[in-house]
């Protein structure tokens, strides 16, 4: 519990780091922060135009079907990609000053979360004006976000620390994420897949998260509670495990970066 006390003491550093992450990325561009929202929208647009031609698509409102999945997926990918290198990117201060190292991965995931919460407004905008409307199941959203936050933070703790020692992690993460994009039902719905493949997809934690987002925004149904509770346990397990690894490896950061 010492960590919470320390994070509270260093809250100003955490705050300015989160701000830096949000603002710094698009510094110098005309649209600035707006890019973090325009970017996923453009991606969605490309998929929405191209995929109905390559794949037989009988989803109504395919654009919204995509948006409610790609925006959370984007949150996951951005956070993992930035998180992997965050310790190395801050080598100069790690070597010079003591501060709780957890702040670095935490501020990456928090800034991703802030961006995602703003992007949720885009999702709402589309479901409202795209003719789907919203229903009360939307109140499950904070729970789903919390689970995704825990899962992402756990993974980022783990890979940011390991990447200091084995720099290949960066490339492996890149590859795994590309693969996972197709192994997660983003462009398609998992229930249309053969049973064997569905069984495989069920092993992917992101599949259940994307399903949950889609069920509350797109299908307007309560999410699958059994799957979500197992996922919640799994995610908090990953968070604890990832943090333990981070704490173990943290002692060598200043010597290895």
């Amino acid at each position: 519990m010492k960590i919470f006390k320390e994070l509270y003491q260093y809250r100003e550093l955490l705050k300015s780091n989160v701000k830096k992450e949000i603002r710094g990325k698009y510094k110098g561009s005309f649209l600035g922060v707006i890019w973090s929202f325009v970017n996923p929208l453009l991606t969605v647009l490309v998929y929405a135009i191209i995929f109905p031609y390559i794949l037989r698509q009988d989803q109504d409102n395919y654009l919204i079907f995509l948006i409610v999945a790609i925006i959370p997926w984007n949150f996951f990918v951005t956070v993992l990609n930035q998180g992997t290198t965050t310790i190395l990117a801050n080598a100069n201060i790690i070597k010079k000053v003591y501060f709780p190292r957890e702040i670095l991965p935490l501020s990456i995931v928090l800034s991703g979360l802030v961006n995602f919460l703003i992007s949720c407004i885009i999702i709402l905008f589309f479901v409202l004006f795209g003719g789907l409307g919203i229903s009360s199941v939307i109140f499950y959203l904070p729970i789903i976000i919390l689970i995704q936050f825990a899962l992402s933070l756990g993974i980022v703790f783990m890979i940011s620390a390991i990447n200091v020692y084995i720099r290949d992690v960066e490339y492996i993460v890149n590859f795994v994420l590309t693969l996972a994009f197709y192994a997660t039902p983003i462009l398609y719905d998992a229930s249309f897949m053969p049973a064997k493949i569905q069984g495989l997809l069920n092993l992917n934690p992101m599949k259940h998260l994307i399903d949950a987002y889609r069920s509350i925004f797109y299908y307007k149904q309560t999410p699958n509670f059994a799957a979500l509770s197992i996922l919640a346990l799994f995610s908090f397990g990953i968070l604890i495990f990832g943090y333990a690894i981070f704490k173990k490896l943290e002692r060598g950061f200043a010597e290895e970066v």
């Binding site: 003491q9 010079k96 000053v97 003591y98 501060f99 002692r251 200043a254």
Partner: protein, 256 residues
């Protein structure tokens, strides 16, 4: 030699116990997949160097200690261990109380930000909150004597001005333990004198100060105690004037 001293955690600021620090030194460390593939048959020579060997130090609250020794003797490593930037290979280093280290001034200064913005960022790395920084802002700026330039980007500062700003932030953090690494060569004579005066003030208000230095004359009066580190071993520990004199004699003997 000090094993029978009564250990009281309330009066100790820093406790270094049977501490050994080893560094792994790679002659050529492959860090990317490509390098690993291309140079897969190069054996990576790895050497383990003991930088500090079985160190035992107890520093009481309110003591002012100088760490002296030749270059590469392990003084700075010892300070880094006390700040918890690095950790011991064997043994332990325990500190009691809020600690600030001035190992390298201006850590985390961003050249494009103004002096004022950098004060906020730098102080937040030291663990201060916004209200705490607000309260100290005036003192920090006044001490640095940079009133005219405080809203200019730091990249426009001269190196002396840069150091003055960094020192002013670090010294105003209000830590109970202050670790300083060879940074007293800050600014001109006037500012140096001011820094020493401030250090005397901090000493008199009961802060624990540990200084790594080569300017022996200047710390002779400030410090009560000196610790001489030689090749990673604790060579001599005692009253500042006598240890510093012994060190100077030794250096002169080697030179002669």
């Amino acid at each position: 030699m000090k094993s029978n001293r009564i250990k009281d955690n309330h009066t100790l600021a820093i406790q270094v116990k049977n501490m050994t620090k080893k560094f792994k030194i790679y002659s050529d460390k492959p860090s990317t997949l490509k390098e690993r593939l291309v140079f897969w048959n190069h054996n990576n020579k790895k050497e383990i160097r003991t930088v500090l060997n079985n160190i035992n130090i107890e520093i009481k609250k309110g003591e002012t200690v100088a760490l002296i020794g030749t270059n590469g003797s392990g003084k700075s490593t010892l300070l880094k261990l006390m700040t918890k930037i690095i950790y011991p290979s064997v043994g332990s280093v325990v500190t009691h109380g809020k600690l600030t280290s001035l190992l390298e001034l201006g850590a985390g200064f961003h050249p494009d930000f103004t002096g004022r913005e950098n004060i906020y960022f730098n102080a937040s790395i030291f663990g201060l909150t916004k209200t705490e920084i607000d309260a100290r802002l005036h003192d920090i700026i006044a001490f640095s004597e940079l009133e005219e330039f405080i809203d200019n980007p730091v990249r426009t500062y001269s190196s002396g001005m840069y150091m003055r700003l960094a020192f002013s932030v670090a010294i105003n953090v209000d830590a109970e333990i202050l670790l300083i690494d060879e940074i007293l060569a800050v600014g001109d004579q006037h500012f140096q004198d001011k820094c020493f005066q401030k250090l005397f003030e901090l000493k008199n208000s009961g802060k624990t100060i540990i200084i790594v230095t080569h300017s022996l004359d200047s710390v002779k009066n400030l410090c009560d105690r000196a610790i001489w580190v030689q090749d990673g071993n604790l060579f001599m520990d005692g009253e500042a004037k006598s240890v510093i004199q012994a060190y100077i004699d030794e250096v002169n003997r080697v030179k002669a």
